[in-house]
Symmetry: C2
Subunit: 853 residues, 2 copies
């Protein structure tokens, strides 16, 4: 088996053998673009190296030697000769693999060849500088010597020759060996080092993290050097074939004359915008624009191209699909479709859904960030960025001004304050804490678990790191990565234009999964519909309970000592809830509406402050002590597994009866007004069929009464949340009585794993760090464990009721990885917060396309 | 199809058709015992009655009439005639069915036949009394008139004739009809009423409760009356063929001359012991003893016989297997085996395991109960009875005196107090609360959830109902039913003798499931071994943490801010734990020892009182504030699903490393001293294979080090608790790495149902009451839901590791119904608290026998 190939021998070979970088170079040579010649040691060679106890087998060494011979023949230069062959050596794996060693330039230089180059080019400075750079790169990358030490060597020394001597001596002192003078030795060292770096710790961790096989290995690209720093007819540059920020069709780039690629990156000199090259070297510019077009058409995507001009001659050093902003990714994809370069499906598949939230929230201006003081870091709770005054309590927030709410943690009582704030920071809690969940639902930026914030007991300031931040001070927060800055960071604006809307309509035409929203108010519904939602998959009736003064009637109902008292309070609530449901149904105007009956344990609704306890005592004509006692009675050891969901309806059937009445009366009112309705009612936290039947019977009886009183009726479905393992295990029985299933994947994940989301923050980071969990199962569905229950429930459900409608209303309904899984499983719909609806629509379309291909 | 049969036509028919009572009478007639003649309306007849809209079809009425004709022929008496036929009418379903109407005597009496009887017997009083009783019974049972009203009629009236008139008038006033005079009408009314009562509410609830089909129906037995109150050669009695309390082989009973069966029950006259009959009516006595022997041999079990003597002639009215004390049930079973009447297997199958706990705890003297004041009722938490002084805190308990600990709830800190108390009462908590679980483990009587107890804030007294009970007052508590009495109720002593031990050894020979104990101390192990335990299935290392002063080092370890501090505290604990393990292994002397590594969340170990916080601050050289802050940091929303089990070992691997070191060093010490050991180490709360592998590697590395340091090694197994749905769903992967599985069915039930045991008290009673749950799933395993996960885990486990050892160490391991399920599932062992070991052994043997048959 051959392990070393010249570029022109490898046209038929694939990326798995040549590596990504190598394959692109070979491909460019194949279509006759100006590429410095070279050869590739393949990934097969890398595996042979491992088999041979991590050293190059003689056969491969011989092949490399033979390869160099042929490269010498092709270039007319020789390794260590009069016209010396200099090469770059780069690693290039089949998949992008940060963590490995990367690039060595100018290999082939030694004490002799450097003089030959001086005499051939008459440019001593260029040659000596190249040698210095080679010694530094080789020492650092191959031998692992700290770069900083070399920089020290150079200080206060003016002669480059002197630097070379000092460097070489230093090399010997550090390694015990002379700096290698034989270019072939240099090359073999370099190849071995690159292969060896495949197994360094950083690369290993990276592969584990992204589930990349440890066996694929890397290739090594050995390519003739071209020098942008050779003379004033030389230069180097980087360009995108379209604007990576706006997506506009215009070649967009920068260049520097008399410079090597590194010089642009290092930022010592400011590069020129590419169009200036049209003036400076017009022929080269025209040639480059032509090549850029060829490459974009060839790869059918926007390209990110590196080039070098050596003494008036253009060389392309690299091309790859260019990174772009979420906005540009949509614009470019749609333009490429309109240019007939790609299909709609391809355009959709190219969208990275994880970046879409930036479209709705904007982002920090990267440049301005550098001028701002970084304060500290929490967990990214909800995507987006926000700038505002610090508010340490909801009461500090004044309407019409921008605030960042900073709290130890948030609770349902903070909803109003959260809705007024621009962004939220919590000291406690993870990505699935109350704060984060609500913030994502509101499309608001949020940082959670910023445990280094110490809020002062006076609640007038907090400290973060060494900075004291007072209420009213301005901070800027980044929910994409958890960063917190002092003062106002400049913002790039959000973009959500007609392009985007058209793109979403493409996705809707293609996808199979219905995408609904989790929404509790008419405002939610307006937002969600504008984002493309096709109905409501989860209307949490309890969220309405916190609005305005409703909470006091809710509390009165909870505090009730007996059914009579409870009924009185429920009567008040009936009127309020009926109005809520009517307004929502009207706004939906026939789109499906799925209402979940009361789910959380009572104590979540109870007052927490002394002041509110006093108010409740007044409101209900009870004593302060009595209210406190009742609150303590309602406290639970494990509220997540306590007296909640349908269990409340077993002990107090009148609550669900009231809610069913409110829903049905609202629907009848709509019918009277010729507003179309599609209604589903859902019972949460069902553990088995007896429980469901018991509640179903009571609800249906109540609804029959409402129909009778109104001499009218409507169609509706009555179904179950599937959020407990037992319900999934017995889904065949449940399907016999239930019109549909809605998977509550949050609670199902909690119970299947036995992990409380609220408490997981104490250990889940360790799990991810130590690679015990690849992903947080509360963000992306655990397909192997929880997924088994979903599959079982679907199979069993269909046994009893073929084609039973099944949806997902947990937060996973807005997560692209999970959506793909739900699509593959053949579910009917997902439901997520309104601000995640576009993401879900794109992800659903992508799932459909990848399943079809 | 025929629906009415005379006794002598029905010898071939079964209990399902004749009912239990009917079948026994027919059987006695078949073997020529003196039975009053009669006929049976079958359960088929009952079903016809339902089909005919709850009224008797004409065909059946005709059959009943024909049956009466033949009975008249057989007895020489006629319905309503000169020599009047009087009958008893009783219901008799195929299974024992409380809640239905029962017995009507003397049917056939009317204004005319009562006179005929007077003239035939010359006993006006007897005849009139019989008529009065018939009117009362018929009115109450058939017409549903309140018995008390008749009793009022009788007050201050001396003439029986007058009573009859008043009764009849009252009957007419209540029902609007004359008291029926036609005996056939009387009979048809009675039969219809009995059939109708099959569907009364009480019967319905009973059938739901015991999963009895609603379709089986009841039969009606119509039998010629015999009168024990006829004259002084008449009488009535009840006898057991063996002593139902001691099991001794001696006919044991009571009788009254000139009385009907009711008179014995009513307790108006004191009955004579049966042997006195040998003096009063020696021939009858001899005949009875002979019949008793025949019946016992015929039914191959101790019989409970009702008899009546009418004018010097003996009649047997009923025989059935006699109820007996748990002690007698063992003694009688063993004696019957020795008498070659039954097999060992039959003797074992006859034991009601739910009553066995009385053997270890004794019971209240029933008679003495009537003299004591009943205070109130809680939930039966742990079987047994106890008498002692009230202690409202553990500190009030003085050693050497009997105390009942009464607490709002118990916590691990109360362990010592609980172990000193005779019994425990808690205001909060259910049958699976901490108090109940620990009490059962200790074999101690316990009542939980007695919410009507109000403990005064001074903690010097409590009120229960209208009684104030002070500390030091004596109360008596019954853990079998939750009853609490004031003062000391007399006790019957517990019995656990050589009979019992031999019986257990029979069971051990037969059973297949190994029975182990959940035990944490050498004392536990001595008790468990004496009860027959075959090893330890669950040694909860954390229980040891509460003993003596160990808790302070545990707290120091928890409070540690970093690994260094934690390691220092762990070093102290290592020495203490090693000693614990050594003592336990020594006591076990080669029986299997399964140690579970640390499981509960840290905060369970932390001090709860200010005083203890101060002590911990001193002990660890920290500030009071610092300790309080740490305690608050460790607080969790849902500790059951929090940072516990192996999650502690992922974040702090040094804890399990210390425990593994302690266990292995203890085992090596045993090996040195030639003490045999069988060691299993088990990791709790595993959710998936990555987690287990991560911890396993660290533990094995540590153990390898210990082996190296000691230049010695031992065999041991390392396995997983299976207590989370996800572990069960992925058991195939886990089995690849785990030596064994141990189902933790408590936590598995909590997570599968999504129910926190601690909080379930608020709603689980409603669930049982409303028949949504047949049984508390924390007491008997939920075979349909949780069982599916167990089955799945076993199947998947065996796919990867055929024959993998699987046990159960949840509390279900001591529950007979659950044990039967585990046996059927083919598990290897169950483990339960030492005091439940004999129950588990009997249940395991029963499971094996019923599976074999």
């Amino acid at each position: 088996m051959k392990n070393v190939f010249l570029f022109n021998e490898s046209y038929h070979m694939n990326k798995e053998i040549l590596g990504g970088k190598g394959k692109n170079l070979v491909e460019m040579q194949r279509i006759n673009l100006p590429i410095p010649n070279g050869m590739i040691v393949t990934t097969d060679g890398c595996r042979e190296y491992f088999k041979n106890n991590n050293s190059l087998p003689t056969l491969i060494i011989d092949e490399i030697k033979a390869g160099i011979k042929r490269l010498e023949l092709a270039t007319g230069k020789t390794f260590g000769g009069e016209n010396p062959l200099l090469v770059s050596v780069r690693s290039g794996a089949p998949v992008s693999m940060p963590g490995m060693m990367d690039t060595i330039l100018n290999l082939g230089l030694n004490d002799k060849t450097v003089e030959n180059i001086i005499s051939r080019t008459n440019s001593e400075k260029f040659a000596l500088e190249s040698y210095v750079r080679f010694i530094e790169m080789f020492s650092e990358i191959v031998m692992g010597i700290d770069k900083e030490k070399f920089h020290k060597n150079k200080s206060n020394i003016s002669s480059l020759r002197e630097v070379i001597e000092i460097h070489k001596n230093f090399f010997k002192a550090e390694t015990g060996k002379d700096f290698p003078q034989n270019p072939l030795d240099q090359l073999l060292f370099a190849v071995e080092s690159i292969f060896g770096s495949w197994n360094n710790e950083r690369a290993d961790i990276y592969r584990n993290l992204y589930s990349i096989s440890h066996d694929i290995g890397t290739a090594v690209v050995v390519q003739e050097m071209v020098f942008g720093n050779f003379n004033n007819l030389s230069g180097t540059g980087v360009a995108f074939t379209r604007n990576p920020s706006t997506g506009e069709k215009e070649v967009f780039g920068e260049y520097l004359l008399e410079a090597q690629g590194e010089d642009i990156v290092a930022g010592i000199r400011t590069p020129e915008p590419l169009h200036r090259l049209g003036t400076q070297l017009p022929e080269i510019y025209t040639q480059f624009i032509e090549i850029a077009n060829i490459l974009e058409n060839h790869y059918r995507d926007m390209q990110d191209i590196e080039f070098t001009i050596e003494n008036g001659k253009l060389f392309i050093l690299q091309t790859r699909n260019g990174k772009r902003s979420p906005y540009a990714s949509i614009k470019i994809g749609m333009d490429l479709v309109n240019e007939n370069l790609i299909t709609k499906e391809e355009a959709i598949m190219r969208i990275d859904t994880t970046l879409l939230p930036q479209l709705f929230t904007g982002n920090f201006d990267e440049k301005d960030l550098k001028n701002k003081k970084f304060l500290g870091k929490g967990l990214p709770g909800s995507a987006g960025v926000a700038v505002g005054k610090v508010a340490l309590s909801c009461h500090s927030i004044k309407e019409g001004e921008d605030y960042i709410l900073v709290r130890k943690e948030t609770s349902p009582e903070d909803i109003k304050g959260m809705s007024l704030a621009k962004g939220i920071v919590t000291v406690k809690g993870g990505a699935t804490s109350h704060g984060a969940v609500v913030a994502r639902g509101m499309g608001k930026c949020c940082i959670t678990g910023c445990e280094s914030i110490k809020i002062d007991a006076s609640e007038k300031f907090f400290t973060l790191g060494d900075t004291v931040v007072k209420e009213g001070d301005i901070i800027s927060i980044n929910g994409f990565n958890g960063d917190i800055y002092l003062d106002a960071v400049k913002l790039e604006p959000p973009r959500l234009d007609h392009n985007f809307r058209e793109f979403i309509s493409w996705c809707k035409d293609i996808k199979k999964l219905q995408v609904r929203m989790n929404a509790d108010t008419p405002t939610d519904i307006i937002v969600g519909k504008s984002f493309g939602a096709e109905g409501v998959g989860l209307c949490r009736t309890e969220h309405m309970f916190f609005e305005d003064e409703k909470i006091w009637s809710v509390r009165e109902m909870i505090i009730a000592s007996n059914k009579e008292e409870r009924d009185l309070a429920l009567e008040k609530l009936l009127i309020l809830q009926r109005k809520d449901f009517y307004e929502i149904l009207k706004e939906l105007s026939g789109c499906p509406m799925n209402v979940r009956l009361l789910d959380p344990p009572f104590h979540e609704f109870l007052p927490k402050t002394e002041k509110d306890i006093v108010k409740l005592a007044d409101f209900t004509n009870r004593t302060f002590e009595n209210i406190k006692e009742r609150i303590s009675e309602l406290k639970e050891e494990n509220p997540m597994l306590g007296h909640r969901g349908c269990r409340l309806a077993v002990t107090f059937p009148e609550i669900y009866e009231m809610q069913a009445t409110a829903i049905i009366e609202a629907a009848l009112q709509c019918k009277n007004e010729n507003i179309p309705i599609t209604l589903e009612i859902m019972i949460p936290f069902i553990g088995g069929i007896s429980e469901f039947k018991y509640i179903k019977e009571r609800i249906l009886n109540k609804i029959a009464l409402v129909f009778e009183e109104n001499s009218d009726s409507i169609d509706f479905k009555l179904g179950t949340m599937m959020e407990l393992p037992r319900a999934c295990l017995l889904a065949d029985e449940i399907a016999a009585e239930s019109d549909f299933f809605s998977f509550g994947t949050n609670d199902l994940t909690q119970t299947t794993y036995g992990i409380s989301r609220d408490d997981s923050i104490k250990f889940i980071d360790f799990y991810k760090e130590k690679n015990i969990m690849k992903r947080d199962p509360f963000q992306s569905i655990d397909t192997r464990g929880v997924g088994k229950l979903l599959t079982l429930a679907k199979t069993l459900g269909n046994e009893t009721k073929p084609g039973i409608k099944i949806g997902v209303c947990g937060e996973h309904g807005g997560d692209p990885k999970s959506i793909e899984y739900f699509h593959d499983l053949g579910l009917d719909y997902v439901s997520c917060s309104p601000f995640r609806v576009p993401i879900a629509i794109v992800a659903a379309a992508q799932s459909k396309i990848s399943k079809t291909n």
